[in-house]
């Protein structure tokens, strides 16, 4: 696709900028950007600005007085002795535990599934559909379904496995349950993205590697993985963000049990802002969480960029 750019040395090229310049005003590029900028402003900049403004106030949705408190909401969050501070860091910890536990599985397992589905065998489309099927269910369906299946005393999972594990009211079983349900639910999406990435890797590269005598493992490491790198950056980032935003599963399956240990940051933010109407604290929590996620994303991009240079 960069053919067009490299193919045009010569006189024609010099003429173009001259003509363009005569028609270009300084605002021309901005005019082209305007439709996007308008949307970006209305749906991104304004809400972010409004959120920041809110986080600097004691902002109760329906109390008329919304006193300006400066950074007090943030100070409160960083004070482990305060009610909101201790709750927030417990929730951040829950989010961290879930992310660390779920992301590796949500990368490796879908990759394996994608490799399998990339092969040529009978009924391939059926398998693809089967793996993707849970993803079309909403979180409410998934949550309710598993809440009853996983119930420690009346659930089918314990019944058929002959276990006595409290999947929804004890840690670590609750984490295993939440990660397991999430993997079952969203594995299909990552697998499909990986599959698309795999199909984009030219066959010739594999053939050339084979001619050079590379075995399956070597081909995977030297051809498949590098070929997947752009897809991988996207999947890793999207999965980290999705895991860090986990809400529905713990809301519906464990209800934060045991004693708020599986109450994630988003869960707590929603509860603080929309149930207790304390928008100021909730906004402050959102900004702290957003800062963490930005650092995480930057790290992921950093890791993959370093490999590029090598």
């Amino acid at each position: 696709m960069n053919d067009a750019l490299t193919r045009a040395p010569g006189a024609a090229e010099q003429a173009v900028p001259a003509r363009a310049a005569s028609r270009m005003r300084w605002w021309t590029p901005y005019a082209f950007l305007a439709p996007y900028l308008a949307l970006f402003t209305v749906f991104m900049l304004v809400p972010i600005g409004f959120g920041l403004w809110t986080s600097l106030h004691e902002w109760d949705i329906n109390l008329p007085a919304k006193p300006f408190v400066g950074l007090a909401n943030y100070a409160d969050l960083f004070d482990p002795g305060s009610v909101d501070g201790s709750r927030f860091w417990l929730a951040m910890r829950a989010t961290g535990v879930f992310t660390v536990a779920s992301v590796p599985i949500l990368i490796v397992l879908p990759l394996l599934v994608a490799l399998l589905m990339n092969g040529r065998f009978k009924g391939r489309n059926v398998y693809r559909a089967v793996y993707f099927a849970p993803y079309v269910l909403g979180v409410a369906v998934v949550g309710l379904l598993w809440r009853y299946l996983l119930d420690g005393n009346i659930g089918l999972v314990n019944h058929y496995l002959g276990l006595d594990v409290q999947w929804t009211t004890d840690v670590p079983p609750a984490w295993i349950a939440l990660v397991g349900v999430t993997v079952w639910w969203t594995l299909g999406l990552n697998a499909v993205i990986f599959l698309a990435g795999l199909q984009d890797i030219p066959r010739e590269l594999h053939e050339a590697a084979m001619v050079d005598g590379a075995g399956a493992w070597r081909r995977f490491r030297a051809v498949t993985l590098p070929g997947l790198r752009p897809v991988m950056v996207f999947v890793v980032n999207a999965t980290i963000l999705a895991s860090a935003n986990m809400f529905g599963q713990s809301y519906l399956i464990t209800a934060g049990a045991p004693a708020d240990q599986t109450k994630t940051a988003i869960y707590l933010i929603a509860e603080t802002g929309l149930r207790q109407f304390d928008m100021g604290t909730a906004s402050a929590m959102s900004f702290v969480l957003a800062a963490f996620l930005m650092v995480a994303s930057a790290l992921v991009f950093g890791v993959f960029r370093d490999r590029d240079k090598r």
Binding site: T41, L45, V46, D60, N62, L63, Q166, A257, P258, R275
Partner: protein, 446 residues
């Protein structure tokens, strides 16, 4: 690079524009709560009787999602038929835990209820949030007087000298028992005191019921805890609402008894939310404490189960049980339209005269006089109201709901899940509660 406006300056400008818009939006935001502060067009005082204004539609919110819902809809149909062409009441039923958070914002946006049902302990919070408008005149027209009500129910409806509610019913926790299980150990009724209750549990276990009394860690665990606390003579909050008192010696005794049921093997450990009730419905549990509104649910959805309902046993010595009441309230949204105010008052007046009918939904009429009507007195739940002194209510302190969920319910859950000893869980919870109470005091400016 001769652009009069550099890229950086442009970004700065857009940022500034964004911020201006944001600030403008803030201006809009402050209006949210202040909407109710706009002067209400003077509606004439309600004196009872008919509605004479133009046709209006009222939005009516309630949380009757259980066995009580169909009954409310029937009553509503009756009202709509009678007032056809004049008042139309549209019903919105959603779970209480979703209804309360949504109501204030929806009302501020003009998309909420004009008239609603809320619990006694929310009246204070909503009154101070200016979500409600006073209805002293309706109470007057209904000729409701304090001496016809349980004092706690009546007092919960007034805030800063004005009445905000018309109580519809009271409801409480009850002791549901599986009659087939109890027959195995030769009991016809659920035991009523501690010694008999514990003996029955031991007998039931011997009779082959592996876990006869499941102890929840979430809802209704906190209702059980509060009932037991009051039975032991403890109190929830100080009179002025500045201190939590549930960490007392009585609180420890109450919570310890709950944990004991697990230690003695009468309950499995770490029971998941709602599964004690599901297990009761499925004939696996002999005794479970739940709200009386489940009566119709058990009748409809567990027809083969043999069960009955008794008052919560007096474990701590004196009988006491958590209770609450449903109340009609008029919202600030209706307050913007004098006709709606009139119509809503007619509606509340009409509906609250039918508390006998409502009792069939599994509730206890709030009016002492209505409980004496023969068709009501025979209902199973009304027997629970024989001793009204046992009924204890959550105080209507503004913001008490937050304190309950962030501190008390968490402490109970921690102890039942064995994450902390009862005394330690309560101590930690009370420390949190005291901070929240101080915060509320300041926030709601009392």
């Amino acid at each position: 690079m001769t652009n009069p406006l550099s890229r950086r300056a442009f970004l700065g400008l857009t940022g500034a524009a964004g911020l201006t818009t944001a600030l403008a939006a803030c201006g809009g935001g402050t209006r949210l709560g202040a909407g109710s502060g706009t002067p209400t067009p003077a509606a004439p005082a309600f004196t009872g009787g008919e509605y004479t204004g133009p046709k209006v539609t009222l939005e009516y919110w309630n949380g009757f999602t259980g066995g009580d819902g169909p009954h409310m809809r029937t009553m509503l149909d009756g009202f709509n038929q009678r007032f056809a062409g004049r008042i139309e009441v549209r019903n919105v039923t959603r779970r209480w835990e979703d209804l309360y958070p949504a109501m204030p914002t929806a009302i501020a946006a003009g998309k909420g209820p004009d008239v609603a049902i809320i619990h006694n302990d929310w009246i204070g919070t909503f009154a101070v949030r200016q979500v409600l408008i006073p209805i002293d005149d309706v109470v007057g027209a209904l000729r409701l007087t304090e001496d016809d009500f349980i004092p706690a129910v009546w007092k919960a409806g007034s805030y800063a000298g004005k009445r905000y509610s018309v109580p519809l019913d009271v409801h409480c926790l009850g002791d549901y028992y599986n009659t087939a299980h109890l027959e195995k150990i030769g009991l016809k009724e659920a035991p009523a005191d501690r010694a008999a209750y514990e003996e029955a549990l031991a007998e039931l276990k011997k009779a082959g019921i592996a876990a006869p009394f499941w102890m929840p860690n979430k809802w209704p665990a906190h209702l059980m805890f509060m009932s037991l606390l009051w039975q032991h003579g403890g109190e929830l909050y100080s009179e002025d609402g500045t201190r939590a008192l549930w960490g007392s010696e009585q609180g420890v005794q109450a919570l310890s008894w709950m944990v004991e049921q697990i230690d003695k093997g009468y309950s499995p450990a770490k029971v998941a939310i709602d599964s004690q009730y599901a297990a009761f419905k499925n004939d696996k549990v002999s005794l479970t404490w739940d709200g009386i509104w489940q009566i119709n649910d058990l009748r409809t959805n567990a027809p083969s189960l043999k069960w009955n309902l008794a008052p919560v046993p007096a474990i701590g010595g004196s009988p006491a049980v958590w209770s609450a009441s449903h109340n009609f309230v008029l919202t600030a949204q209706a307050g913007r339209d004098a006709n709606k105010v009139q119509a809503a008052k007619v509606f509340i007046d009409h509906m609250s005269r039918q508390s006998t009918e409502w009792a069939k939904a599994g509730m206890i009429p709030a009016r002492n006089s209505a409980r004496q009507a023969p068709e009501v007195a025979e209902l199973p739940q009304v027997k629970l109201a024989a001793d009204l002194s046992a009924f204890h209510f959550l105080p209507a302190l503004p913001g008490v709901g937050d304190v309950q969920s962030k501190a008390l319910e968490l402490a109970v859950a921690k102890a039942v899940l064995k994450q902390a000893a009862p005394a330690d869980a309560l101590k930690e919870g009370v420390a949190t509660a005291d901070k929240l109470l101080a915060d509320n005091k300041r926030k709601y400016g009392r």
